[in-house]
């Protein structure tokens, strides 16, 4: 391929844009070819938003698109200046390779600076790479990164079915790329490859298996990778190993005998996860700890081993400063378990926190929906009616449709509607795992029905109650109403001889302590929010010293001024005299 042609296809500016943002973050010794991107950054600002998925048929795509987009060649000259490397970027394979490699300096920096933020940044970039991965790209990265004798590299290649890939040297297809990248690869070779890069490539391999739905292979490879991680004890590896376990259990969930069956791999992965948890706790590895706890809970709930999940929660301490997403997941599972155990108040608390902590990005909409569904049911079980506004949110409206019907039935207390809603959406509720919880709502519907009647009638016969609520018999109605009175649902009394219910006068709500309590709750919530936001504020390191320095300078200046004044004043005898007089 001629290197200096002013060519661009659709993807080119975009790629450059991405590169340029990344480039800024890089170390000084980062690969030079990308530097040109910096200058173009501003110019391409708008184009960066356009994401054109690079075609899978890697090589061929570059050629036909050349003439098509030839007129948008405004980046041409710049590219030309960059020389060979710039030209090669057109090729998606090389592009992906470069993208993958651009994370290595980040990982290295994470190790040298001992700062997990850099590895997190590398992990974040995965989402932009993930749908471009092919075994060839991975194999290429591996062969270029490692020396041939490295066993880690060999096993990676083996799992990718690319055992024959040749290290450092070019194979016939990868000719140009390799020649282009050779200086870079050569520069890297003397360096020792840190295990972080190892694991990072492992994660990419996992993702490749996930994307190609090759779950069996993926789980085997993950087991191997988890083993390797287990043998390494490096704090800079924490966030990476958490990710490894995450994908490991994801594979297991997808393999043949699916979740509820006791022989599913979800069950067999548990010992591995528990060992990982133990190790993570001993190493104070917060990332892995939180991830693995969440994974275990998920696994237990998938087979509905509620008792075990509850035991796990009571025997482990979820790390306080775990990442937000893990906290949200943990809270959701916790809420779910508590709801099943009829501890609705706790469940409500956890689920509210989970929905609030849920990331607002569209890719996390599923979690938000699921958590909201459960929250709605728990709210209903507690006897509250969820707000109408919840159902109007764009991201929830359709998903919550069945629940809306349910809420309407419960709110009015119509047993018929309630049962119709359950029957109609039986499968939805079962899929959401809220079915058993919803069945418990029956008594709430009845209670609301009774309350509505006691509010609207000062006196109503048991027969009428029985008919309105569609109960089996008048006797049942009597017992049910009696229970409602005892539970404080309604203020009324029964007359057995004449068979009616007599409501008591409704007192003034504002005479009770209720409004005060509601007020107090809200104020407390506001105060807690304030405290939390104060705690969450971050300040640049050593800023206070700078201020101190400034203050010191100012003080010195003041002192000088005072001195000057004093000197000046000393000339005036009377002032000095006064001083002495004092």
């Amino acid at each position: 391929m001629p290197s200096k042609t002013p060519h661009t296809n659709g993807t080119d500016p975009v790629e450059n844009g991405i590169n340029s943002t990344k480039d800024v973050e890089m170390k000084d010794d980062a690969p030079a070819p990308l530097k040109g991107g910096k200058g173009k950054k501003a110019k391409e600002g708008e184009e960066m938003a356009v994401v054109v998925p690079p075609p899978k048929g890697s090589k061929l795509s570059a050629t036909p698109s050349k003439d098509k987009d030839g007129d948008t060649a405004m980046d041409g000259p710049v590219e030309g200046d960059e020389g060979d490397d710039g030209a090669v970027k057109v090729d998606p394979v090389t592009k992906a390779v470069v993208d993958v490699k651009s994370n290595f300096p980040l990982l290295e920096r994470a190790v040298t600076h001992f700062d997990a933020r850099f590895s997190l940044r590398a992990l974040r970039s995965i989402s932009s790479i993930r749908n471009r991965l092919t075994p060839d790209i991975l194999a290429q990265v591996i062969t270029e990164t490692y020396q041939s004798a490295n066993p880690a590299a060999k096993s990676l290649l083996k799992s990718l079915d690319r055992e024959h890939a040749i290290f450092g040297k070019t194979s016939s297809i990868e000719m140009e790329i390799d020649t282009d990248n050779k200086p870079k690869a050569g520069k890297k070779e003397p360096k020792e490859i840190i295990p972080e890069i190892d694991v990072f490539l492992g994660i990419l391999t996992q993702i490749y298996f996930l994307e190609s739905k090759d779950y069996k292979k993926g789980s085997i490879f993950s087991a191997y990778l988890a083993d390797r991680i287990h043998s390494l004890n490096r704090r800079t590896l924490d966030s990476l190993s958490a990710r490894v376990y995450f994908y490991y259990s994801l594979f297991c969930e997808q393999i043949a005998p699916l979740a509820p069956s006791p022989s599913s791999p979800v069950v067999s992965i548990r010992p591995a996860l528990l060992t990982a948890l133990r190790t993570a706790v001993l190493r104070k590895d917060i990332d892995t700890q939180s991830t693995v706890i969440v994974l275990l809970l998920r696994s237990y709930l998938a087979t509905s081993h509620i008792a075990q999940a509850d035991l796990l929660i009571s025997h482990t301490k979820f790390p306080e400063n775990a990442s937000n997403n893990q906290v949200a997941r943990y809270l959701y599972y916790l809420g779910r378990i508590r709801a099943i155990q009829l501890r609705y108040t706790e469940a409500h608390e956890h689920l509210t926190a989970a929905t609030r902590k849920a990331p607002s990005s569209p890719s996390a909409a599923g979690f938000f929906q699921t958590a909201t569904k459960l929250l709605l049911v728990v709210e209903l079980l507690m006897g509250d009616i969820p707000e109408r506004a919840t159902f109007r949110q764009a991201s929830l409206e359709r998903a919550l449709q069945p629940y809306l019907l349910l809420v309407q039935a419960v709110r009015v207390g119509l047993l018929g509607d309630f049962e119709a809603a359950i029957k109609q959406h039986n499968d939805t509720f079962r899929r959401d795992g809220t079915y058993t919880l919803i069945l418990r709502l029956r008594q709430n519907v009845i209670k609301t029905g009774i309350r509505m009647m006691s509010l609207s009638y000062s006196r109503i016969s048991l027969r009428d109650i029985c008919i309105r609520l569609k109960l089996e018999s008048e006797e049942s109605a009597e017992y049910i109403v009696a229970k409602a009175i005892r539970d404080g649902v309604i203020e009324a009394s029964l007359d057995r001889e004449r068979g009616f219910m007599k409501s008591k006068e409704v007192g003034d709500v504002y005479a009770t302590r209720e409004p005060g309590e509601a007020f107090h709750d809200r104020i407390r919530a506001c105060l807690v929010l304030h405290d939390e936001s104060v705690k969450a504020m971050r300040f640049p390191m050593n800023q206070h010293r700078l201020e101190l320095k400034n203050a010191q300078e100012a003080r010195e200046r003041e002192r000088e001024m005072a001195k000057e004044i004093q000197d000046g004043d000393l000339d005036e005898d009377d002032l000095g005299g006064e001083f002495e007089g004092m």
Binding site: I340, S476, I485, S493, R513
Partner: protein, 266 residues
């Protein structure tokens, strides 16, 4: 060797005349299982031995229940759980699970009941039958629903009319009866001001008026001119006063709290 011995023991167990003799067989059976490493199933245990172990525990569970030894029953249920997890279910599984549910219900352990139920629902999703329609499992589930709703008459009917799925279930009937009777009594105390003795008899499912009077006395109700008067609700007024005092205290405390917080913020 162990297998034959166990088969023999299971046969003996089934024909055991009374609980004490059965207990003897059970303990020998458990010892044999322990020696054969089959007390708790492990991947290496051979299948026939597992099946035998399960049989021993199932018989043990039913026997202990008939002897009203609920603790032993709970132990057997826990021992059986791993066997059922391995899908070594038998005709007895639903029966025993149902009985266990009923036990949890009579002990008032609702959270345990629902936890167990959730597991059943989940495991049965792929199954042929819905849990509620099962003869053995449906019974405790229905009872729980009626108890929560307050349809005590339906509970009573279900127990009285001999609708119990099998004889072991009737062990719980007595406990349940006293349980719902005290529930009804506490409901009546708040719901009615007074009741004629004759209708109280129906209400509490008691057989004679004499029983009503003795029951009323045990709960501290006053019986006068053929009517039962429930103790007046004196408590509430006292409570309200106490509350009011507390209310102002709470308000003061809260306001002071806000003031302190405001000071730190401003």
């Amino acid at each position: 060797m162990a297998e034959r011995q166990l088969q023999d023991l299971v046969r003996k167990l089934r024909s055991a005349p009374d609980y004490p003799t059965a207990l003897k067989f059970l303990s020998t059976a458990k010892l044999t299982l322990l020696k054969a490493h089959a007390l708790v199933p492990s991947p290496t245990t051979p299948q026939p031995l597992l099946l035998l172990a399960r049989d021993v525990f199932e018989t043990g569970a039913l026997l202990s229940l008939r002897a009203k030894d609920t603790e032993a029953f709970t132990r057997y249920v826990h021992l059986l759980t791993p066997f059922y997890e391995l899908q070594l279910s038998s005709g007895e599984q639903n029966k025993i699970t149902g009985l266990y549910l009923l036990l949890l219900l009579t002990m008032g352990n609702y959270s345990g009941f629902h936890t167990e139920l959730e597991g059943l629902e989940c495991r049965n999703v792929s199954g042929e039958k819905r849990v509620v329609e099962d003869k053995f499992l449906g019974y405790p589930i229905k009872l729980e629903r009626w108890l929560m709703e307050g349809s005590y008459d339906l509970v009573w009917k279900a127990m009285a009319s001999g609708e119990v799925p099998c004889e072991e279930y009737s062990v719980f009937s007595e406990i349940l009866t006293t349980q719902i009777r005290s529930e009804i009594a506490s409901c009546s105390e708040t719901a009615y001001s007074s009741l004629p003795i004759s209708s109280t008899k129906d209400l509490l499912f008691l057989s004679s008026e004499g029983d009503v009077v003795s029951f009323a006395q045990s709960r501290g109700w006053t019986v006068q001119d053929g009517r039962i008067y429930f103790p007046a609700l004196l408590k509430t007024s006292v409570d309200e006063k106490g509350n009011e005092k507390e209310l102002s205290m709470v308000a003061i405390e809260n306001t002071l709290g806000y003031a302190r917080q405001l000071e730190t913020i401003v």
